[in-house]
């Protein structure tokens, strides 16, 4: 039971990241590897702001401001110009990879290569009739669940959510109706940065952070997105949760070493068994 709850919380965090990835991927087709850079940089920023004594609320605000701005700058400086040049998805992917590398190295140079923690000392725990959860886990679970619900609600019920879904569906037609897709894309990157930062900080609170885990985590989010179904948001959310549960079970029954292996083997399995919408099967003219 404990493992299940653990897994659910892990899963919710993965779902947040999956949303962060899908927001960009669905609306722009960009394989947002640089999301890993945002994920990595956020806890370091928070850490430093707290260290210089700005107090937690301001530190959090500043961190979000910077990461959201950074995420939007990816679009403004890199992806949008490439889009105007009609660059292929591979080029966009490569440039995203390049950005990831640059930012990770900057983080490592400024803050060093070691892992750190956000809170000093043991975490406060809560006991729910035998089930013990740390405060970080509780915060992780509640906050991520709330944001996920708010996001899905926004998407389905509001005008701006509708615009956003339209952007993912057919950006050209959307611009032909007069909507500013440059602004919408920027917004997508900003929103993605927001969700990524939330997940990053919550995880950092729980287990700490380092400059090199970013890509790995984002890969897991990408797995959730692909298995969940590209083009949708509900799919990645559900898959994120499932992945979290499965990974916890794997850790429990074997060891933490095999978490990632199993995750990717699942991806491979899925790609072969149920490739709907992933591999263009019927429309053979949709090549590469």
């Amino acid at each position: 039971m404990h493992i299940l709850i653990n897994g659910l919380i892990q899963g919710l965090l993965i779902s947040l990241l999956a949303i962060g990835f899908s927001i960009v991927y669905n609306s722009t087709g960009i394989f947002h590897i640089a999301q890993g850079a945002i994920y990595t940089v956020a806890p370091f920023l928070l850490f430093s702001f707290i260290k210089v004594g700005t107090g937690i609320p301001i530190a959090v605000l500043l961190t979000f401001a910077i990461t959201i701005f950074l995420s939007m700058s990816f679009e403004k400086v890199n992806h949008w110009p490439l889009y105007r040049k009609e660059a292929s998805t591979m080029i966009q992917l490569i440039s995203s990879l390049g950005i990831y590398i640059v930012i990770i190295q900057i983080v490592a140079i400024i803050w060093g290569n070691e892992a750190r923690v956000l809170r000093g000392g043991i975490d406060v725990t809560y006991n729910f009739s035998g089930l013990i959860l740390t405060r970080s886990q509780m915060m992780g679970g509640i906050i991520s669940l709330s944001f996920i619900i708010i996001f899905l609600f926004w998407l389905k019920r509001t005008n701006s959510g509708l615009m956003f879904t339209a952007l993912s569906d057919n950006p050209i037609q959307l611009s032909l109706i007069g909507y500013d897709i440059t602004k919408l894309r920027l917004f997508a990157f900003g929103l993605s940065g927001f969700f990524t930062t939330v997940a990053a900080i919550l995880t950092a609170l729980d287990i700490g952070f380092d400059p090199h885990g970013g890509l790995n985590i984002v890969l897991i989010a990408i797995v959730a997105t692909i298995i969940g179904g590209r083009g949708s948001f509900v799919g990645p959310v559900i898959c994120g949760i499932l992945l979290g549960v499965i990974r916890s079970q794997v850790v429990w029954y074997t060891s933490a070493r095999w978490e990632d292996t199993i995750t990717f083997l699942l991806l491979v399995l899925f790609l072969f068994v149920r490739p709907q919408g992933i591999i263009s099967n019927k429309g053979r003219l949709e090549v590469l």
Binding site: L93, I94, G98, I99, I101, V102, A108, L219, L288
Partner: protein, 289 residues
Amino acid sequence: MNYILHLLIYLDIYIIITMSLNLLVGYGGLFQLAHAAYYGIGAYTTALLMVALGWGFIPAIICSIIITGCLSLLVSIPAWRFRSDYFVMLSLAVQVTIYSLLYNWTGLTKGPFGITGIPKPTILGYKIDTLPNMFILSTVIAIICGVILYVLLRSPWGKALKAMRDDELAARGLGKNTRLFKLQAFLIACSMVALAGGLYATYVSYIDPTSFTLDESILMLSMVIVGGTGNFRGPIVGALILIAIPEILRFVHIPDAFAANIRLLIYGLLIVTMAHFRPQGLAGKYRFK
């Protein structure tokens, strides 16, 4: 002088790596983020065969090429249907999995402790244990690989691969079995990088999983992208830059602790710049659209 030889041996090894990856990326159109993993399998297989079973260099290398080749088939045969961006995902999965195996299967690979005492190669009874001799060996191997690739790329096979890269659908419409070509390119590329891995293992005589991480794969891919894809010079330029950058950094007195980071940083910047202004790389011929 010794130091320069050392650099040149590394250059040879990296040229083999970049040439093989270029075959995949620049000719096959397949982005591979698992090249370091196959490099690692080549290195570990050679090392284990030589250390644990006492095999000689040539048999060990041949065996590691075969094993890595078979492994690549295991991945590529099911994967031939995939579009390129999903192929990247798959290669990521392979990289993570293989690294994880190298790190965690301590029974076989001794995990993070690595394998020590890998002997220098003995070819036809002649032990190659001086730096200049090692350099000759690595250069000979690099040249052999280069010649093989050169001949292949100018052959009908190479032309068919180029056709496939230019317009896969049109090539299929002419009867080209593009899946088979991709498999073959994959096999050749992975086998060649395994050869580089074996060479590396005997040269440095100690290997551990940290040389075969995702970062290393990214570095390899960057070399190929920056140096140039789709032609012969590109990979050589890419490898040259890789070797040259840390040396230049040393010249400028960047502390060693940061050297690795700065090198990767420069690569990242180069990649982004290339993507915008010169998608075919510095010396390449094939422009990714």
